[in-house]
């Protein structure tokens, strides 16, 4: 599925996508948007305009924390990592989305579409 999903579901899943990625390793904004695009085969795409307000919001809620570090090219980038509060939030979020997709599948048979 390469077609970009531009819907409320995609926007709603942004939190889960970011938290799940940061659970693997700390990343900076550009890397986050690249990884999301790569891992979803281009189905999800975060522009700069949509990504940063989301990151700042997650940071404000204490789920992620940012710190300045040099990247592989030696340039200062703000790396975000998952905080213990974010880690705690990720598990129920995953369950909620899993439950949602199962329900949708039962209703509309989306898996076999």
């Amino acid at each position: 599925m390469t077609k970009r999903i531009r819907s409320k579901i995609a926007r709603g899943s942004a939190e889960l996508s970011i938290l799940a990625l940061l659970a693997e390793q700390p990343l900076y904004g550009f890397e986050i948007s690249k990884r999301i695009e790569e891992k979803t085969g281009g189905a999800l795409h975060f522009t700069l305009a949509s990504l940063y307000p989301m990151l700042y919001d997650l940071e404000k809620r204490g789920w992620i924390a940012g710190r300045w570090e040099a990247n592989h090219a030696g340039r200062d980038r703000r790396y975000y990592c998952l905080t213990p509060a974010g880690k705690k939030e990720l598990a129920p979020l995953r369950r909620e989305w899993s439950f949602f997709f199962q329900a949708l599948d039962r209703l509309a048979g989306v898996t076999n579409a």
Binding site: T47, L48, Y56, K60
Partner: protein, 215 residues
């Protein structure tokens, strides 16, 4: 390569945040533009095409500035409550609660005749470090800076000082014996010693805790 910092700064002029915070946002977004631009160049696009691709990331700058402003400003308000007001109020409530309990105990018939210094002031000074510790601890737990932890710990005496000053300046309270001795004693017993006691309790929490990062 375009000067992305100048480009972002110019377009985020409406961002009304602390200068340091604006600079952080500008640096971060400029870095993102820089990465997109370089990625496009490495894919073989011309400089103008790469620049265009980067510019496509933001169509409505005002909207972006508004969204960042909203998120950051809400954060500031919440942070101030978490870092200062709430810990300060806990410290104040604990200090005043203890003072009232001690006064109530000292008024019981079996303690009549004992001096207020012995029954109220000294026990209060002994207990005040716990109030200062509570304020500074809560403030540090919320991730506050040193000054906020200090203010949260000393909040009871700051309030006492301000209230006392207001009452005296507005002449709602008239000092009956305006000699330096009585004034100094009041300041020492009401402000200096309680402040020292609060500071004693707050001191261990004035060191910055190491940030926790999930494994």
């Amino acid at each position: 390569m375009p000067d992305w910092s100048a480009f972002v700064r110019e377009r985020l002029q409406s961002l009304n945040l602390a200068p340091k915070e604006v600079e952080e946002v500008v640096t971060e977004l400029a870095g993102h533009f820089e990465d997109i631009y370089e990625e496009q160049i490495s894919r073989g696009l011309s400089e103008s095409e790469a620049e265009r691709a980067a510019l496509n990331e933001v169509v409505r700058w005002r909207r972006l500035a508004r969204n960042i402003q909203r998120v950051k400003q809400e954060g500031t308000m919440n942070a101030r409550t978490k870092h200062l007001w709430l810990p300060g109020l806990v410290s104040l409530a604990a200090a005043m609660g203890l003072l009232m309990i001690l006064i109530a105990i000292s008024l019981q018939p079996r303690f009549l005749g004992r001096s207020p210094l012995q029954m109220v002031i000294l026990p209060w000074l002994v207990l005040l470090p716990f109030c200062g510790a509570a304020g500074a601890y809560l403030s540090r737990r919320g991730g506050a800076a040193l000054w906020a932890r200090l203010v949260a710990g000393l909040f009871p005496t700051i309030v006492l000082f301000v209230m006392g000053a207001i009452l005296i300046v507005t002449r709602l309270v008239v000092v009956s014996r305006p000699q330096w001795w009585y004034g100094s004693l009041a300041v020492v017993l009401g402000i200096v010693l309680p402040s020292a006691a609060l500071l004693l309790g707050a001191a261990p929490f004035l060191k910055t805790a190491k940030p926790k990062v999930a494994a």
